[in-house]
Amino acid sequence: MAQIDIRSVRKSYGKTQTLHGVDLIFPTGEFVVILGPSGCGKSTLLRMIAGLEEITAGEIAIGGTVVNRLEPRERGCAMVFQNYALYPHMSVADNIGYALKVAGVPKAERRRRIEETASIVGLSDYLERKPAALSGGQRQRVAMGRAMIREPKVFLFDEPLSNLDAKLRVSMRAEIRKLHQRLNATSVFVTHDQVEAMTLADRLVVMNKGQVEQVGQPLDIYHRPASTFVASFIGSPAMNLMDSRIEGGTVRIGGHAVRLSPAAASLEGREITVGIRPEQVRLSSNGTGVMAVADFVEELGSGRIVHAAMEGQAFAAAIGEEVRVQPGQPIAFELPAEHLHLFDRESGRRIEVEGPAASPVAAVPALALS
């Protein structure tokens, strides 16, 4: 069992730098998910842990041993690839057992361990098949079995579910999670899918443009995003972000002033970005509040999402199915102050307001409508 320490790791290809100094600690036995848009360097980081990419600067240690100069096989990692990378000419049994064969494990023991692994991943009946004769989910299981059989200290997953259809993805997600609990190895899982990230992670790392934006527990990150990037990346539909300024303890949004908690007084006059999640926006009960014009409505079955325009900016709100909204109809929204997130407009970093983010006072009717 091994803790992974990543210390100021950088990666450049020629002159272009793709990772700009990453510092992370993944404690033993945790399921860590690295989340980010494509091109943010998350796969590169994973491949550096695996030993498939050279480390330009910095250090990676697994279980206390610096592995920068070690070959992949000496690092005790196993990896599941996005396209599975099964050996097409080998049967399922040979695929799973290849690592043992290379390691020189005697045939009888190999057979026993292959069967044991196959039964864990539910492939006992397919041992003699070739990968071409398997379905996507089965291939995925072979890839996992192949990684498991070596009893690695560290499991690395490189977007392993993105080639599966939606339904299978959900069930494989659960299987991966179960597998992790059973094996108790440190797992690092790279994905661009925030639902996967939220559901799997003990610890979530959000990356953007070669830098770590935020590290924390999934719910923490959801409730207290550290930057506008994290705020807009986590959560579906994305958080509404609106530029504003703090004046007299209020922020003006959509021609309406929302009063903040007294603790925000020190921020008087700051240029900020205000964020609120669509599911925390409420329809105003008395017809006054933040005004927006409905553009279109997305039906989700369990509810609906209104996409509206507010002072030319897009604004989304989740509403219950009992409310009917027509496109073009003006709607008044209430923005509960305790659900507002404040970010510095320049840097995009979160501004922490003492205690509960804002007073639980709901929107105050228009104060200074001009």
Partner: protein, 295 residues
């Protein structure tokens, strides 16, 4: 063709029949001539019907050309050339595709350019080196140190001499390279994660995966090796190293001798036999290996 018209159909069949006749014509002459007697083969007009004398013609050719001996030599040579080419080009392509080295592209293009330098073009320098293996080194040492050394070792009249200069192959390297490049990078990475080194990866993954490629290349290269004429002619002076192609020359009737073309033709049928067999056995894979990659 998607469109079907009687005229176009007739034209296509006409062209196909014409092509077939052009290809099969010489074989009909050889087969007919090889089985006729001396009188029949020299009769005017030539009769395209096979006769009954094939076996005696063949045995005459066999003894006159010492074909038994030449057959062994040719088989050894063609097999070694084939094995050498298939193995060497697989290794070359492996190095070019799977290893990151700064001069990789230079090496690849150097190999590729040799496509333009078949043996016939470089036969004189190749012969010079084969006749005195240490020439280049001796010149180099003399240039660097001024010391003149006398070591002589030549490959004339040996299987090594027959085979080695023919082994380097740009075609084979290119064929393997194209195939290796279709393999996903993850395959090599997965093997690395499983602990396999480059050599293991080559034998456990690449060799089994490129089976059709190997067989296709074997077919082409065996025929190539078998058909070599110029190089053995230069290398071999000792009759015990004569190859089939050289003996075909010996089977031709002498200028003022008996015009026994029936024996010559029977001999050429025997000479044709091994490559025909190899192609017939391997052609299924041959086509598959050149056309599509196995999924």
């Amino acid at each position: 063709m998607i469109q079907r018209t009687p005229f176009a159909d007739a034209l296509t069949y006409g062209l196909m029949i014409l092509g077939f006749l052009l290809l099969i014509g010489p074989f009909v002459v050889v087969i007919a001539g090889a089985s006729q007697s001396l009188q029949q083969v020299n009769a005017v007009p030539f009769r395209f019907m096979p006769g009954t004398h094939f076996l005696e013609n063949a045995s005459a050719a066999w003894t006159r050309g010492d074909l038994g001996h030449a057959m062994v030599n040719s088989l050894i040579m063609a097999t070694l050339v084939t094995v050498g080419k298939v193995a060497l080009s697989a290794c070359t392509a492996f190095a070019i595709v799977f290893f990151r080295s700064p001069l990789k592209h230079l090496f690849f293009w150097t190999v590729f350019i040799t496509l333009m330098l078949p043996l016939e073009v470089r036969v004189v320098p190749t012969y010079a080196v084969a006749a005195d293996m240490f020439t280049p080194f001796r010149l180099l040492i003399q240039f660097l140190t001024g010391i003149e050394i006398k070591v002589e070792w030549n490959l004339l009249n040996s299987y090594a001499g027959l085979v080695l200069p023919l082994i380097a192959t740009a075609t084979g390297t290119f064929l393997y390279r194209q195939f290796f490049m279709t393999l996903p990078d993850e395959l090599a990475e997965a093997a690395r994660m499983d602990g396999s080194g480059p050599v293991r990866f080559f034998f456990d993954m690449l060799v089994p995966l490129s089976r059709t490629n190997i067989l296709a290349l074997t077919t082409i290269m065996f025929v190539y090796g078998w058909n070599q004429y110029l190089w053995p002619l230069l290398m071999v002076t000792d009759p015990s190293y004569k190859t089939m192609m050289m003996q075909l020359r010996a089977l031709l009737p002498a200028e003022n001798g008996i015009p026994d073309w029936n024996v010559t033709l029977a001999g050429s049928l025997i000479i044709m036999l091994p490559p025909v067999l190899v192609v017939a056995i391997l052609q299924r894979w041959f086509v598959r290996g050149l056309v599509a990659s196995e999924k």
